[in-house]
Symmetry: C2
Subunit: 577 residues, 2 copies
C-alpha cells in the first residue's frame, strides 16, 4: 500500500470531544469515523488491526476445539422471551418490529441463539462437551457511549458458548478457556491483563471472571491486593471491616437541629465516623417498594450486591411526604414496616451507634441493633474501599485501580438450558439440563485498549502481531530520482517477500511524513533519504525507539525480517501471569 | 475435525417446506438452522465455506486496490435522509428507534455510509480513483424470504464503492471490477455465471450488470439470445415487435355483450391478437393518480419500465365507479383526461386496432392512434417474451431462462455524491461531484447457489476451493483395532501436513457413513476398511465420482495432495466467459 493512496485523513489537532487518549489517536490517525453516538466506521488501518485480532482469537478458539458458527444479528423477540430476557433486559436491548409486526431484537449476546442451535443436537450425552463460537456484530443501546471504541453501541464480538454434562467438566473447560484468553491477550501485545473475579450481572450464573487492562482511562474499578495478588471487580469484591464494638449505651433521642449529613453527625456528637449509621434509600424498580440500606457511616453502598441479594433491580428512591422518611434523619429504630430494611455487615457487632430517628432534626444515640431492632440479619452490601481489608489475605492493603474490561467469561450453569428446555435424554429418570459457559471478547474495544496502553505522545505503538503493517518505508525527498528509485525498489522487494509494508513517497516534509508515520504506529520504520543513500544505507528505527540503526541498503530486507522475528518473539514469549 | 464431534445433525428426510434442492440439502446436511423467516444460523460446515468465499472475494478486491473498511450495521435514519432514501425506500428498510427516540435503520446497502466516510477525504482530486469495500451483515426486510439462503432477510454481503473523477475513469474501473467478479465466480467453482445487463432499481444510476447463475431454481428471468449471446434481465431487456401495419379502417363503435378479455375480443371480432389493444391500469403510489398503459393485446407490461419512465412507484389500480373506467372496455379513445395514458411501442405503426370504448360492453374497431388520439408518444413498456426479437441481433430467437443473481455492479454516477454534497474542491469554478460505482456479492446466497448447481441426488458436490474440508476419511469398522489405527494414523499425518481433513471413525454402518459424507460434499474421500487394509491400500474417491482408485497406504497422502492440486487447477483454469 502506498501512503498516498491510503483512504482516510491524519491530523495534528486533538478533537475537542476526546477525553481518552486512544479515542483521540484513533480519530487523528484515520482509524475510525464517527457515524452516530457509539457507532463508528472502521477505516482501512483499523480494519487490518481488527482482522489480525480476529485471526488470533479464531486460532485460540479453534485450538480449544471450538467450532465457528454465525448467529443472526437480528433475532426474533420470541427467542429472547424463551429465556425471560425479552422482558427482563432494559432499553440496552434494541427492540423493533418487522414488516409483519413481529417483535425483533438486535443480538447483544447470543445465549438464546446458541441454545436454539444445539437444543436437538445436544439431546445425546455422547456429544458433550462442545463449544461453538462466532465473530459477529452486536448492538447494545448503551445510555452513555464514550471514549471512542472503548464503550460503543455497535461492536464486533467473539462470543463462545460451551456445553457440559457436569459441573466438573464445565470447570475444567472454563479453566482451559481462561488460559486461552490469557494467550490471546499476550499475543495481541497486552500480556499484563489481569484476571479478576467479577459479578455475572444480567448473564446469570455464579462464577465469572473479567480480564482487566489496568489503566486510568478505564471505567471499571478493580480492588487489587499487592500483598497476596487478590484481584476483583469492586462490584463483586467482598467488603470486610474490622470494628471496635465499643461499650453498650442507653438509647437516647436527641434533638439535632441542622444536622443532615454524616459529617454533621460526627461534628455534632464529636464521634468518629465509625460510630455512625448511614441510610441509603432505594426503590424496587418493578414495584416501587422502598428499601433502606443501613451501613456504617464511612462506607458506601454497592448497588450490585443489593440487586443480587434481593434478586431484582433497584433505582434511587424518590422520597415523598407520606413515606415517613426524612432525608438526613433516617434510622433503623421504629422504621415504618412498609419499608424493607437491609443491614450491612459493617454494623454487625457495634454495641452502640448513632443514627437518624425517623423524625425531622432528631437522632438516636446508643442504638444497639441486636437489643433494639430485633437482631436483624447482616449481609455484605458495601463497596470495598481503598486500604480495606483484603478478602484474600486479611491485611488492610486493598488498592483500587481503574481498568478496561477486555474480556469476560462466565459459568452460566443451567440458567438458559433450563429456561429453554434443552435436555439430555439418555437417562431414563429425571431430565438433565446441560451446563453452559460463555466467553466474550470485544474486538474493537481490544484494539482501542491496546492503543491506550501502547502509545507515546505522538501516536500508537502497535505490537507487531496486530499492527496494520509491519514495515513503514519513509522516503524523504522522493522528488530526487535516486531516492525514489531506492525506496521504490525496497518497496517492491518487500512486497515480493510478502512483508506487510506501507510506502510513503509523498512530496511532503520530513515533519509531516514522520508525524503521519507516528500516527500509524507501524513497529518498524525504514528511512530512505539523500544522506542515507550517499552512505549507501537505510535507517531502521522501531516505533518504540528502542532500536535505531543504519544498515547497508542491500541488507535492509534481511535486517527487517530479523527484526520482525525478534519483535514477534518478544510478544509471544511474554510470560503468562 | 472428527465427525463425531462436528456440531449439527444430518438426516435423510427432505423437509416438507423445502421446494428448492439446495435449501433442502443445507438443512439436511447440517449447514443452516432456521431461526426466523429469512434468518438462519450458519453451522460449522457452512461457516467454513463462507470463510473461504469471503477470502476469495477479499483477495480479488485487494487485487483491484480495494481497501477494506467496516461500516456499521445500525445507521442513523438522518444519514439515509441525506440521500432521500429514508423516505423513498419501502418497508424492506428496517426502521427502529433507539433509547433516545432517534430514528435508526439497519443497513441494507451502504452508499450513504460510504459517502459519509470519504466526503472530506475526497475533497482533493488527487485522491481519485479509490475503492473501499466491506464484508458485513446486512438486513433487508423481504416480504417473501424463500429457498433457504437464496432469498433471506439477513445476509453477509461484500459491498464495494468506487469513486472517480470522470466518467471514463469510472467505466475503466467498472470493467476491471466486472472481470474481477468473473474471477471470483470462477474461483468459487461456478465459472459459467452469465453477465447480464440489468435495471439499476432503487440504487439509481444508469448502467448496471447482474451476474446470473442460470438454473430453474432461480427467481430472476433472463432473456438470452443463443444466436448472438445477448443476455439481459427481462426487467430491463428491450422489447421489440415487428408489426404488420395493415390497412386503415373507419372508427366504429360496436356493442360487445359479454366481451371482457383479449381472448373474447379476438373471438368476437375474429381477428388475430396482434390487432387488439390491451389496457393495464396502475396508480401512482404517492398520489393515487390513475395511469393506463396501452399495448398490443399479446404483450405484457413490464412494470419496472413504467416506473423508470414515469420516475415513481406504481401499484395495481383499484377501479372505483367514478373513475370512468370499465374493466374489459378500457381504450385510448375519449379516455378521461384525469388519467395518464401511456403507449407501448408495440402499437406504434398499427393503422387499425380494436380496443375498449370506455363504455360498458362496447368496443371500437378501426382505431388509428395517430389519426384519432392526437399522435401520442410511444415508449418501451412491454416485457420481452419467448421468441421475441433479440435487441442484439434482430433475430426472433429470444429464450427466457431462470437464474439466481449472485452479484451485481452499478454505475451510480453522481446520485449520492450530489445528494450528500460530496465535492471535489480543487477547481475554482463549478462544484464537481465525484462519480460512484458500487459492487455487491451476497456470500450466503453464493454458497447456496453453488450448492444448487453442484450437487447430485445425495448431496452437494463442493468445489475444492470452497469445500468445508478438502479430504474426508471414512473409517469403516473403526471397532477393529487395525482399521482404526490405520485411519487414525492417516488423519494425524494429514493434520500435520496442514490438509483440511474430517475424520469419521464413528461406529456406524457404511451406509450411514457414506450418506453423511455425501451430505458434507467433501471433494476427496479416503476409505479405510478391513478389506482395503488386507490389500495394504486405501480407496480414494472423488465426490463427483470422476475418480475412484486404490492406492498403497504409504502413498495415500501423496496421492491426496496431487488430487487437491489437480482439482484446484481445474477450477482456477476454467476459462472466463
Amino acid at each position: 500500500m502506498k501512503m498516498s493512496e491510503l483512504v482516510g485523513e491524519r491530523f495534528r489537532e486533538k478533537p475537542a470531544d476526546c477525553v481518552v487518549e486512544s479515542h483521540s489517536l484513533m480519530i487523528r490517525g484515520g482509524y475510525i469515523k464517527y457515524v452516530a453516538a457509539g457507532i463508528y466506521t472502521q477505516l482501512p488501518p483499523l480494519r487490518k488491526i481488527t482482522r489480525k485480532i480476529e485471526q488470533i482469537i479464531k486460532e485460540e478458539m479453534d485450538a480449544l476445539g471450538g467450532q465457528e458458527v454465525l448467529f443472526p444479528v437480528v433475532l426474533p423477540g420470541s427467542l429472547w422471551a424463551e429465556s425471560g430476557r425479552y422482558d427482563s433486559v432494559g432499553p440496552e436491548l434494541m427492540r423493533m418490529y418487522d414488516r409483519n409486526k413481529v417483535p425483533m431484537v438486535l443480538g447483544m449476546t447470543h445465549e438464546e441463539a446458541a441454545v436454539q442451535l444445539v437444543r436437538e443436537y445436544g439431546r445425546s450425552g455422547s456429544k458433550y462437551p462442545f463449544m461453538i463460537y462466532q465473530i459477529q456484530t452486536k448492538f447494545r443501546d448503551e445510555p452513555r457511549p464514550r471514549a471512542g471504541l472503548i464503550r460503543v453501541r455497535e461492536f464486533t464480538m467473539k462470543d463462545a458458548y460451551s456445553f457440559h454434562i457436569s459441573q466438573e467438566d464445565m470447570e475444567l473447560f472454563y479453566d482451559r478457556c481462561l488460559k486461552a484468553y490469557q494467550r490471546i491477550f499476550t499475543r495481541v501485545g497486552i500480556g499484563e491483563v489481569a484476571v479478576v473475579v467479577s459479578d455475572s450481572g444480567m448473564m446469570g450464573g455464579s462464577i465469572a471472571h473479567e480480564f482487566m487492562l489496568l489503566t486510568p482511562a478505564g471505567e471499571d474499578s478493580i480492588a487489587v491486593c499487592p500483598a497476596c495478588g487478590y484481584k476483583a471487580n469492586v462490584e463483586t469484591a467482598e467488603s470486610i471491616t474490622k470494628n471496635d464494638p465499643g461499650p453498650a449505651e442507653e438509647l437516647k433521642l436527641v434533638k439535632t437541629p441542622g444536622v443532615q449529613t454524616i459529617e454533621d453527625v460526627c461534628a455534632f456528637f464529636s464521634v468518629p465516623v465509625e460510630k455512625t449509621c448511614k441510610a441509603v434509600v432505594y426503590q424496587k424498580k418493578r414495584t416501587g417498594e422502598l428499601i433502606c440500606v443501613f451501613l456504617r457511616g464511612d462506607m458506601a453502598v454497592n448497588e450490585t450486591k443489593v440487586r443480587n441479594i434481593i434478586g431484582e433491580d433497584i433505582i434511587p428512591a424518590v422520597l415523598t411526604e407520606d413515606s415517613g422518611l426524612y432525608a438526613g434523619s433516617i434510622g433503623p429504630f421504629k422504621l415504618s414496616n412498609k419499608i424493607v430494611a437491609l443491614f450491612d455487615r459493617s454494623l454487625q457487632n457495634l454495641n452502640s451507634i448513632i443514627c437518624g430517628a425517623n423524625a425531622q432534626e432528631h437522632h438516636y444515640t446508643g442504638l444497639n441493633l441486636s437489643r433494639d431492632c430485633g437482631a436483624p440479619d447482616f449481609f455484605d452490601f458495601a463497596r470495598i474501599s481503598e486500604e480495606a481489608v483484603c478478602p484474600g489475605c486479611g491485611k488492610p492493603t486493598i488498592v483500587l485501580s481503574k481498568g478496561i474490561e477486555v474480556g469476560n467469561i462466565f459459568q452460566l450453569g443451567t440458567k438458559y438450558t433450563q429456561a429453554m428446555n434443552m435436555q439430555i435424554i439418555d437417562q431414563e429418570n429425571e431430565p438433565v439440563y446441560p451446563l453452559m459457559g460463555c466467553y466474550g471478547i470485544g474486538v474493537g474495544r481490544l484494539a482501542a485498549s491496546v492503543c491506550q496502553v501502547r502509545r507515546d505522545e505522538f501516536g500508537p505503538v502497535w505490537p507487531i502481531t496486530i499492527a496494520p503493517w509491519q514495515v513503514h518505508i519513509c522516503c524523504l525527498r522522493a522528488d530526487e530520482p535516486e531516492v525514489s528509485a531506492c525506496g521504490g525498489e525496497l518497496y517492491r522487494a518487500m512486497l515480493e517477500e510478502k512483508l506487510e509494508v506501507i510506502y510513503d513517497d509523498r512530496s511532503v516534509s520530513a515533519g509531516v511524513m514522520f508525524s503521519d508515520a507516528d500516527l500509524l504506529g507501524v513497529p518498524i520504520r525504514v528511512i530512505v533519504s539523500p544522506r542515507n543513500i550517499k552512505e549507501n544505507c537505510v535507517e531502521i528505527v522501531t516505533r518504540d525507539k528502542r532500536i535505531s540503526k543504519k544498515v547497508g541498503i542491500e541488507s535492509g530486507i534481511l535486517e527487517v525480517r530479523a527484526l520482525i522475528k525478534k519483535l514477534t518473539a518478544e510478544i509471544e514469549d511474554y510470560s503468562i501471569s
